[in-house]
Amino acid sequence: MRRLTAATAAALLAAGLAALAARAGDAGEALFLRGEGAEVVLAGGRLRRPASDFACAGCHGADGRGRREGGTVFPPILWSALTDPARPGGPYDEAALARALESGTAPDGRSLGAAMPRFALAEPGLISALARYLAQLDLRQRRGVTADGIALAPPADPAAARAFAAALAAENLAGGAWGRRFRLGRAAASLATAEEAAAALAPAIDRALAGLAAEALRASGQARAAVAPDAARLGPALAAQGVTLAEDAGARLAPTAGGMRLSLPGGRVLEIAPADTPDGGTPPDAMPGPLAAAALLGHEIARAALACGRGITRACLLETLGRADLAGRYAIRAAEPPASSD
């Protein structure tokens, strides 16, 4: 009985320690991505508020590699960059990180700029958790990236997976990206899943569809269009293109599996769908919408990987997909072939 209790206690202790360790890791991530566990102290202490709008990832990037905005440079804060002995301003350790966050002091004692808020942490242990997260960031952001390959998890649907794989194979034939070939991998061992990449690409697709739809409306003399409820997200982008949205308009936009269908007054129907790609990647005309979309995704992942360069990260890949200009990747066709003249 006694021994059982001791064993149980040991097991409980081990489980407790593991949970604590896991929580510490999560706490670093929560602070980095969402500002959880900290308050921001602004204007010389006159303003304190939860740091949720001031998370590290907002300015320094979810990949921690830094970025710039106008004249402001947000430096890289990967642990390897912060602890670099050659770092101007001196290398950080955990104590120096705490001083930077809490009092805005660099390792060499100088003040950080006004763009870097001061933080009040809920508990001192968060500094270690944050430092550990910053150290893991490089690894997390480069999961699936090897010397000669980039692993991506394919779509769940088998046919879509084949179209996705074919597009990546075509990109591999065209040279891959920076000496790396695209491979299919498990989600847990990939830079991103097809679903994650598709979600990142969605705003770019919406911009392209809205642009082409507005162009087609203008070309057919329509200033107004009705938008189907399941395409309502295109509304603002269409309005920005000068299209007036009206329920009773003669022109009507509705989504299709791979794009958009535009019905014009007089019975003309136009289909906006992924176009043949000029570089040899070929979602053929006959390819059904979802497969063409999967192929487009594969090609766009390859373009984004090229743009991200040798040091590709997951955050760079997903952000680059969101900024993609897809205007040339979609085409407008008559929905039905013209009737033959016999």
């Binding site: 204007a43 303003l47 950080l112 920005a240």
Partner: protein, 198 residues
């Protein structure tokens, strides 16, 4: 001294020490506030929508005779806008409410698509913005002309420096502050604006 010379003298006094170029450190944060010489700027009366969805002219939206602090933001911003807006939260609180309030804060939305009245209201409520803090958007078609009229530099939404314009609309004279301004500097600049009949 002319109004312009007086404002310039004040502006030079107001530049906080870290705002000078030698105050930036190892390139970490290059943009500190730079206060420009007062400039002639007639506020346009272009159509705008406020955060309650009311359509009005930009100039007509402002209480007559009162200095304004203009700022620029987009509601999807997750970088410097949040700090600029926090600065304005302090300014808004210091200005107080009621007839004695010395200035109006006007936040101009720069995202023509996503800065809807609902999005502006959500942002204003998150910041606890008072009734003397206006949120105005030119909307899908009116944002670009409005920003051009205010000489807001063109470019990608997410690639702008923080910018404030402090001035007296009736006199058409504004001081442009580029970078993260100190709330006290903005307040002093607003309070130093000459009255309309002066």
């Amino acid at each position: 001294m002319t109004s312009a010379a007086r404002l310039l003298a004040l502006a030079l006094l107001l530049v906080p020490a870290p705002a000078l170029p030698h105050g930036t450190h190892h390139g970490d944060h290059a943009a500190e506030a730079v206060v420009a010489e007062p400039e002639r700027l007639a506020l346009p009366n272009l159509p705008v929508t406020d955060r309650f969805g009311r359509r009005t002219g930009f100039r007509d939206a402002l209480p007559p005779g009162q200095p304004v602090i203009l700022s620029f933001t987009y509601t999807a911003c997750d970088t410097l806008c949040d700090i600029s807006n926090a600065v304005l939260t302090v300014v808004d609180a210091e200005l107080g409410a009621g007839p004695a309030r010395a200035a109006t804060i006007v936040t101009v939305a720069i995202d023509p698509v996503r800065d809807t009245p609902e999005a502006m209201t959500a942002e204003a409520e998150k910041l606890g913005a008072g009734p003397g803090w206006l949120w105005l958007s030119g909307g899908p078609q009116g944002t670009r002309p409005l920003l051009e009229a205010l000489r807001f530099p063109p470019g990608a939404l997410e690639d702008h420096d923080p910018m404030f314009l402090v001035g007296q609309p009736c006199l058409g004279l504004f001081t442009r502050v580029v970078g993260l301004a100190d709330p006290d500097a903005l307040l002093a600049l607003a309070r130093a604006q000459p009255p309309c009949d002066g």
